[in-house]
Symmetry: C2
């Protein structure tokens, strides 16, 4: 049985808490929040508290709070504990404990939505090889895919995640605005968005690219641009140039 304390009550904390409850080999010894975590949401934790002095001993102290606050928070915890953060953007060195680690699920979580952690890769790093094993066991217990990566690899993974999550979502948002301007429902793009994602993960994305930018079809691109505002045009031009260059080894 691996005893875990979760610090935080946000999206990731909530999803990990639920996953740990369903795992037979894991016990949530306590959940900490700036104000005491609600019984309704976290009632099955061994302890719910807002006081760091009451935190029980545990094999893993898991920090699930906002990136900016992690470093200061780690200083307030026992320096003898095994303290782990869950951020893709932060290095190991933001933690002050000698035994420190990273447990970063490469997934986007929404509080109000069930997102399965089943099969989700979790990037694992720790100063101590035994602690690496503990984190791997923890990931396996919730049926996630532990993946040991070093800090350099994690940095690349994090920026790649920004490309396929934040940046892709911004393109969805632009498309949403374009349709809204014509009183068209965003639902019209639903099938295309889902199939684009499905195709992308099951092939090399480069090999399945299509469209006017790949062909360098200037007349279609010109008529597209005429429909866009200045901000949308910037995106259109930059992405089209990137596509053309990728496939034609040449400037558009």
């Amino acid at each position: 049985m691996t005893k875990v304390v979760i610090f935080g009550t946000g999206n990731l904390a909530t999803h990990l808490y639920k996953a740990f409850l369903n795992a037979q080999q894991v016990e949530v010894a306590a959940i900490w929040g700036r104000s005491t975590p609600s019984k309704a949401q976290f009632g099955q934790a061994g302890m719910r508290t807002s006081s760091l002095s009451k935190i029980p001993e545990a094999a893993v102290y898991l920090i699930c709070i906002t990136d900016d606050a992690v470093s200061g928070f780690s200083r307030q915890l026992s320096q003898e504990a095994f303290v782990v953060h869950t951020s893709g953007a932060l290095g190991l060195d933001v933690l002050t404990q000698a035994r420190r680690g990273i447990f970063w699920p490469i997934q986007t979580f929404t509080k109000s939505k069930e997102v399965s952690i089943n099969g989700v890769p979790i990037c694992i790093e720790a100063t101590n090889p035994k602690d690496v094993s503990t984190l791997k066991k923890l990931a396996k217990a919730i049926k996630a895919k532990p993946t040991e990566v070093n800090s350099a690899q994690r940095a690349y993974l994090h920026v790649a995640a920004v490309f396929v999550n934040n940046f892709v979502n911004q393109l969805y948002s632009s498309a949403h605005d374009l349709l809204e301007s014509q009183k068209l429902s965003f639902d019209l793009l639903k099938a295309l968005i889902l199939e684009t994602a499905n195709k992308g993960v099951n092939a090399s994305p480069k090999s399945i690219q299509t469209g006017p930018a790949k062909r360098g079809d200037k007349s279609v691109m010109k008529s597209h641009k005429s429909l866009l505002n200045k901000e949308q045009q910037k995106l259109y031009v930059t992405l089209s140039e990137a596509i053309y260059k990728t496939h034609n080894n040449n400037e558009l």
Copy 2:
């Protein structure tokens, strides 16, 4: 029973052919290809031919060939027939027939992959109101969602489709390159890509945006940029600026 002739043997032609075969109210009277369409692939069509002079009469002549060739092709068909193209990029006026129409499924098709047309929106336009009805019936017969749009709306839909398909796929491709450079599998992003798409279609994409660009977190953005080549940096900066501006009404 609606008799249809399909011109073309590519991705879209293949998917529509299969969908029409499964629809009780539709008969594929003929399929035409530059060379005679293969029996293995199109054996259940009433006729397989490469000769335009042999094309039988039908209620709908459906052109599923590459955009550039549509206009010239339409001139070779009977000027009395109801001729329809299937492109999102082309207007009605590329067709020379008096009775002309558009039947554009907003989906990306891959020849080797089963893609359900079930529930896919099909944009419909025609010069003649009765022909609009025929195209709607055709879409319903294959369980797609007919959506009557005018040419202006279709133009916006097409550029929006480029954003969520071509441009999104280019971001997948960049992420793929970033991971490859670190000998990391693109599979690590699979769960994130699929969930990002799922979230995007079930919410307003703007309302669920997260990440360093939205927060204007310059230190994370700077360290991200240091990992990227010149082309990737261009995408990173343009997308980050767009996200920041969308959420902060201000330049980054």
